[in-house]
């Protein structure tokens, strides 16, 4: 089974609740993109994604478990690209409860109280992870990249 470990440098980026973008693909080959509020660190080889509204994402990963997530690190002028594989969905338990609390906090900070509601914590295995510095206005696109994969 392919798996990789999340580097410690990604932990503070995930913990600060930065929004992320997610791409999935249906069994008939149509990609789907969405913004997600939270990528939760479960352990060094798993993340949990908040499932709130988008049933298309939920349907896609049950048809085709592969997913791609881009976590933005605005202060670090970079993003993290994660290849993931869906494993299971949890609607109760410590991961769900912790994510639910974080979602409430994010909703309150972004004026989305009462709209953001965690329906499930979807658990994904990390297949590869890469930090991609933003070329911005000075650095070269490939400068400083780090990656790992199983």
């Amino acid at each position: 089974m392919t798996m990789t470990r999340l580097p410690p440098e990604i932990r503070p980026v995930l913990d600060n609740g930065t929004p992320a973008a997610m791409v999935t693909c249906s069994a008939d080959g149509k990609p789907n993109t969405t913004v997600i509020s939270q990528v939760y660190y479960v352990d060094d080889s798993h993340t949990a994604l908040s499932f709130q509204f988008f049933s298309k994402t939920m349907r896609n990963v049950r048809e085709n478990p592969r997913a791609f997530v881009c976590v933005f690190d605005i202060a670090g002028q970079a993003h993290w690209a994660l290849d993931l594989a869906f494993e299971r969905s949890e609607t109760e338990g410590p991961i769900f409860d912790a994510m639910d609390m974080q979602i409430e906090a994010i909703a309150s900070m972004t004026g989305m109280s009462g709209i953001f509601k965690l329906r499930a914590a979807d658990i994904y295995r990390v297949l590869s992870v890469e930090r991609v510095p933003h070329p911005g206005l000075t650095a070269s696109p490939t400068e400083g990249r780090t990656s790992s994969s199983g």
Partner: protein
């Protein structure tokens, strides 16, 4: 056809976007976006990409053509996803840098209150200069603004 209201949103209000593609094995992949423009026919859209994973992007688009782009106005979270098929790509030309600059200005203006102490160049770096333009034909538009209607198809309208 992209409705006029959404064209105006895309051209004047949206400030961040992300694109999704997939390869021959149905493995999804995403790419940051530097800017966009709706074609005069309101059926096509040109998306500008920074120089990150362009080989993979172009290979997938040429292979299967499938492209999805989510465009959001931060911090209101008004969001739409446009899905369609790749038509062609080209290098950057006159006007593209200005298109990306407009996106950057709108995004940085929206972001500043959340990062009051951040140097402007750090915020500016979030929207990278474009290296490639991709034109695609839009066949479907979905509402993705958080809330009960999120995920509903706007174009073509759902028959009831």
């Amino acid at each position: 056809m992209i409705p006029g209201k959404i064209v105006r949103f895309l051209e004047h209000h949206a400030n961040v976007a992300f694109a999704g593609i997939r390869d021959r094995d149905l493995v999804p992949f995403g790419h940051r976006v530097s800017g966009w423009r709706v074609g005069d026919d309101q059926r096509t859209m040109t998306v500008l990409f920074p120089g990150e994973f362009l080989d993979r992007l172009v290979e997938s688009l040429q292979q299967n053509g499938e492209l999805a782009v989510t465009v959001e106005e931060f911090p209101s979270h008004e969001t739409y996803q446009l899905k369609g098929l790749y038509r062609h790509h080209r290098g950057i030309r006159d006007g593209d840098a200005e298109m990306a600059e407009r996106t950057r200005r709108r995004f940085v203006k929206a972001l500043k209150p959340m990062y009051p102490g951040a140097p402007e160049d750090v915020l500016n770096a979030f929207v990278s200069p474009p290296s490639l333009a991709v034109e695609f034909e839009v066949f479907e538009v979905y509402l993705q603004t958080p809330g009960p209607g999120a995920g509903s198809r706007l174009v073509p309208p759902v028959e009831r």
